[in-house]
Amino acid sequence: MKRLKTLLPYLSDHRKETVLAPLFKLLEAAFELLVPLVMAAIIDRGIQNRDMVYIGKMGACLLILAAVGLAASITAQFFAAKAAVGFSARLRQALFDHLQSLDFTAIDRLGTSAMITRMTSDINQVQSGVNLVLRLFLRSPVIVFGAMAMAFAIDVKSALLFAVAIPLLALVVFGVLVWTMPLYRKVQAQLDKVLRLTRENLTGVRVIRAFHREEKEEERFRESTQTLFSGQVFVSRISAIMNPVTYVIVNAAIMALLYTGAIQVNLGNLTQGQVVAILNYMSQILVELVKLANLIVTVTKSVACADRVAAVFEIQGTPWEQEGKGETPSADAPFLEFDHVSLTYQDAGAETLRDISFQVEKGQTVGIIGGTGSGKTSLVHLIPGFYPATEGTVRLEGRDIRQIPEQELKGRVGIVPQGAVLFQGTIRSNLQWGKPDATEEEMWQALGLAQAREVAEGKEGGLDAEVAQGGRNFSGGQRQRLTIARALVRQPEILILDDSASALDYGTDAALRAALRSLEGRMTTFLVSQRASAVRHADQILVLEDGRLAGIGTHEELLERCSVYREIYDSQYPADR
């Protein structure tokens, strides 16, 4: 709950609307409360005195009340909508900006799907919550208590009945609500289970039929729909209490009102019209209480969403370290150096990388090989400083990379990550990710190196060919080549290919490697792969196993010395065994 306060500033641009919306709503409610009084006047003075003119006046009065009420209500809706939409727009932008400021560790902690949900459905839910609160949260209580106050104004004795009826009604309405809410959640969870069974059954259809488990599956499904059914019926049994019981309470109150009213009328303390007015107020209260209960359900959901959104703001990235603490590039130092580097991801139980040390000369090609989960990707992610090393230091030209300004460091590295992702737009706009001000010539050169020239030439529009969301309109191999071109267009000093040639056929792969070799001397290249064939020609190969450096050297040296490398190689080239 405390967290919600952190979201309030996003309403501050709409302070005026936030105040005016409920205010106008209040006005509307006030006018609504006046109606029974006018009606009472019509009955008591108009009808009793046979005063047609008076009735006409009061009728006009009713019409004016309706018109003013309508105007107030529409104004309130406008302010509420403006405040709610403006709030959510600001919140969405702020959240997006906040996500942009997070570092990799924080991104991991949040998780992609959670971030997307926060940005979309959660914020939408918060928006409708704000809208509803501004519109209704004041209205309903005002009507309820206003009606009671009016009743008191008319006749204190009769109105005392309200003081009994309202708490009773509230008790029933909110009691049922509080009782059923967790039950509904349980029912929802059970429905999720039914959904899961259906999905499992479809995705696993071959296995299920192979084991001939169809009937067993049906049995399982029936069991879970039965549980769902029992849950649903149980909840509905409780919520079915609400309507009849509130109906009885209100009518009991009306009966009591009639009785006390009758006594008061008999004594001459009350008129007929006043009794009718009090009865009207009683009916109004019931309608509003039910609305209020529904409102509370929606608002509870919104509050939960708002809380989740607010929690994201609490996650902060660790700031990039103090920039340039006096260290300057040194000509003697190796180009890139890992000095006893270890890495433990946040919240992870074990180290992902342990005590890694190696040096790379400028222009070298470095192969990194190892099984899945051996830490290859983690290792290359340390080079552009995606994650800070937990122990040890990564140095570029003798400088700790954490002391090189973030933008400069990232600008010197071109990375081609796993899973070739392109962005909606054009080939040009995708290449501009690598270098925003790249010239036409630079782009074609990068495409040529990445063996992607014919990809662009083959599409209508060349560089301006459209790229659909996720690059759907390109094949896996084409996407991969374009992502390589994207990294190359900035002419990086360090190029990292993280298993980036997996979707390429043999010929293209070879041509790519030859093209990269032509840049030798200018560019330091890291090749991550599981295949010995991809790294065998590298100047040095790092062999990783379970986060440790199991060997380092050239292909021939490793075949001789490193059993892990030999094992990998043998599993891929059994013929040479």
Binding site: V35, I43, G46, M58, L63, L70, S73, I74, A81, A84, V85, Q93, F96, D97, I107, T112, N131, T198, R199, E200, N201, L202, G204, V205, R206, V207, R209, A210, H212, R213, K216, E217, E218, R222, T225, V233, S236, R237, I241, P244, Y247, V248, L258, Y259, A262, I263, N266, Q272, V276, N280, T372, P417, V421, F423, Q469, G470, R486, Y506, Q530, S571
Partner: protein
């Protein structure tokens, strides 16, 4: 487009589901009528009571008590009727939902793979889950609402006209205004909502793209660029949303205002009539309370009608699934395969997924008991088609597949399929414990047997290291386990049953080579003495196979063993040289 007839048919079939509960449904309708009648009667009684309060010293107490008793009785009866009605409605609704879901699930077990492969799973799931829910809300709950709504309107009109014709006419003339106003606003807001959902869709796409690839954004230092892009879409969305939300939120105040109009009309007009002595004050107060409630069922009904239409569309979708033709049942007198030698022969088999687009044509193969058949070819060449035919997931178009000399169409599907042990590259595990997953093919297996199978599949050591060992609960996607570990579990699952024939799909690059080696060992163990069909990626498997089928673009282009194929210098030789030499 849905025709009227289709709707009628859909409704008819929905009624069939209700047939089981017709007594309860009848009771519910009756109670609805009672509830509506009594609810409308109470204001009249209240009005009568008010009429007894004429003024100082002119209150008819005995008469009042009589009326109060009546009110009390009517209220209690209404409450009871409403309660029982609500209960039976929800019982019927949820039971029908359960019946439909079970029928749909039953049908899913019966449908041929041809159907399931051709339909998006997400769509089928949403039919079984979301559509059935919408149907319950709309058709069943909506129907009761519609029924009580219509009854209320009729009842109100009846009482209104009975009470006073001119006043009733005022109400009848003014109320449609609220209806029309709501319609007018709805049609105007529709286009604004469309604009909003388009802007929202674009924004969501951008969010999925950038936030979904947040690390990439960081890696290329594109934070400011995407921020700007986002801000632009956000401004557009804000504009569209404000319009859509504001205009749609006018509906309520407007209908409320119309309601006030009716109220004022009844009040003033009624007062005039009352002065002439046409009606009493009590009757007027009763009419006023009607006027207050009269528009409510109208608004509800207009909402229910759209919901009903939506529900009918949902019902049509789920019924379509339930009525889909199932696979042909097992042939009468089909053989139950028990002890098989595992001799599999294909004779002149032709098959295609799309009629007219030939895939496999005139293909023959004779796999003797215990032989290894390797299937090789580039990705997407249709290697899985052969698995589909062997397992009889699909039936051949012509020719025949025989096991031990019997056409597989003359063997029960269950016994044919359980004679094969199948390990596919796409590992499928279900939500549950590791033990349950391994036991899937043989639920009666003891813990010791499970462990033995896991050991044989080289899975025991990693399972033991999991926090709860064999009782570790894994999620659908096998979360927490690596691809290789999942594959080992699938192998263990087959190891436990170990049928006489095997179909194995070798793992490719997603698994590291050392885990792959373990899987190979497990495979090798399984294959001893069993007729095996292997979709092969590894040279060692291929070289040791008795028969190699070389597939290309869905066709079997070459067939033979390693040496003969290599010496032929055809596609296999080409493939071999490009893939397996450096």
């Amino acid at each position: 487009m849905e025709t009227g007839l289709d709707r009628k048919k859909t409704l008819g079939q929905m009624l069939l589901y209700l047939k089981k509960y017709r007594l309860l449904a009848g009771l519910s309708l009756m109670l609805a009528a009672v509830t509506v009648g009594l609810t409308l009667y109470v204001p009249i009684l209240t009005g009568n009571a008010v009429d007894l309060l004429l003024g100082k010293g002119r209150v008819d107490f005995p008469g009042l008590f009589a009326i109060l008793w009546k009110i009390g009785a009517a209220v209690c009866a209404t409450a009871a009727a409403q309660w029982v009605m609500d209960l039976s409605n929800s019982y019927i609704t949820y039971h029908v939902v359960k019946d439909i879901r079970e029928d749909a699930f039953h049908k899913l077990q019966q449908l041929p793979l041809r159907y399931l492969d051709a339909h998006a799973h997400g769509d089928l799931i949403s039919r079984v889950i979301a559509d059935v829910d919408a149907l319950a809300d709309g058709l069943l709950m909506g129907f009761t609402q519609l029924f009580t709504g219509v009854l209320t309107i009729i009842g109100t009109l009846f009482f209104l006209f009975a009470a006073n014709v001119p006043i009733a006419l005022v109400v009848v003339c003014v109320t449609p205004v609220s209806f029309l106003a709501a319609r007018f606003i709805a049609s105007r807001t529709y286009s604004m909502f469309q604009l909003q959902s388009r802007a929202r869709g674009e924004q969501t796409a951008l969010i999925e793209e950038t936030v979904g690839n947040q690390k990439l954004v960081k890696a290329f230092s594109r934070e400011d660029a995407v921020r700007e892009q986002f801000a632009e879409g956000n401004r557009r969305l804000e504009e569209c949303s404000l319009r859509a939300i504001f205009y749609s939120s006018i509906t309520n105040p407007v209908t409320r205002a119309v309601n006030s109009l009716v109220y004022a009309g009844v009040g003033v007009f009624g007062a005039f009539v009352a002065i002439r002595g046409g009606i009493s004050v009590g009757r007027l107060s009763c009419l006023l309370s009607y006027a207050n409630q009269y528009t409510k069922p109208f608004n509800e009904i207009s909402g229910v009608v759209t919901e009903l239409q939506n529900a009918l569309a949902c019902a049509a979708r789920i019924l379509e699934l339930i009525q889909e033709t199932p696979q042909a049942p097992d042939a009468p007198g089909a053989r139950v395969l028990e002890q098989t030698a595992g001799a599999v022969s294909l004779e002149q088999v032709s098959f295609s997924y799309v009629p007219g687009q030939r895939l496999i044509q005139g293909f023959s193969l004779d796999a003797k008991s215990g032989q290894r058949v390797a299937i090789v070819g580039p990705t997407g060449c249709g290697k899985t088609t052969l698995i589909n035919l062997l397992m009889r997931f699909y039936d051949v178009d012509s020719g025949s597949i025989r096991v031990d000399g019997t056409d597989i169409r003359q063997i029960t599907r269950g016994s044919l399929r359980t004679s094969y042990g199948m390990v596919l590259q796409e590992t499928w595990l279900r939500w549950g414990t590791i033990r349950d997953n391994i036991r899937m093919g043989k639920p009666e297996a003891t813990d010791a047997e499970v462990e033995q199978a896991a050991r044989a599949a080289h899975a025991h050591s990693f399972i033991r290291r999991l926090p709860q060992g064999y009782d570790t609960v894994i999620s659908e996607e096998g979360g927490g386990l690596s691809q290789g570990q999942k594959q080992l579990l699938c192998i263990a699952r087959v190891m436990l049953c170990l049928p006489p024939m095997l179909i194995l799909d070798e793992a490719t690059s997603s698994i590291d080579t050392r885990t792959e080696l373990k899987i190979q060992n497990a495979f090798a163990r399984m294959m001893e003495g069993r007729t095996s069909f292997i979709v092969a990626h590894r040279l060692s498997t291929i070289r040791e196979a008795d028969v190699i089928l070389v597939m290309r673009d869905g066709n079997i282009v070459e067939q033979g063993n390693h040496e003969t194929l290599l010496s032929q210098g055809g596609f296999y030789a080409q493939l071999y040289h490009s893939q397996f030499t450096g």
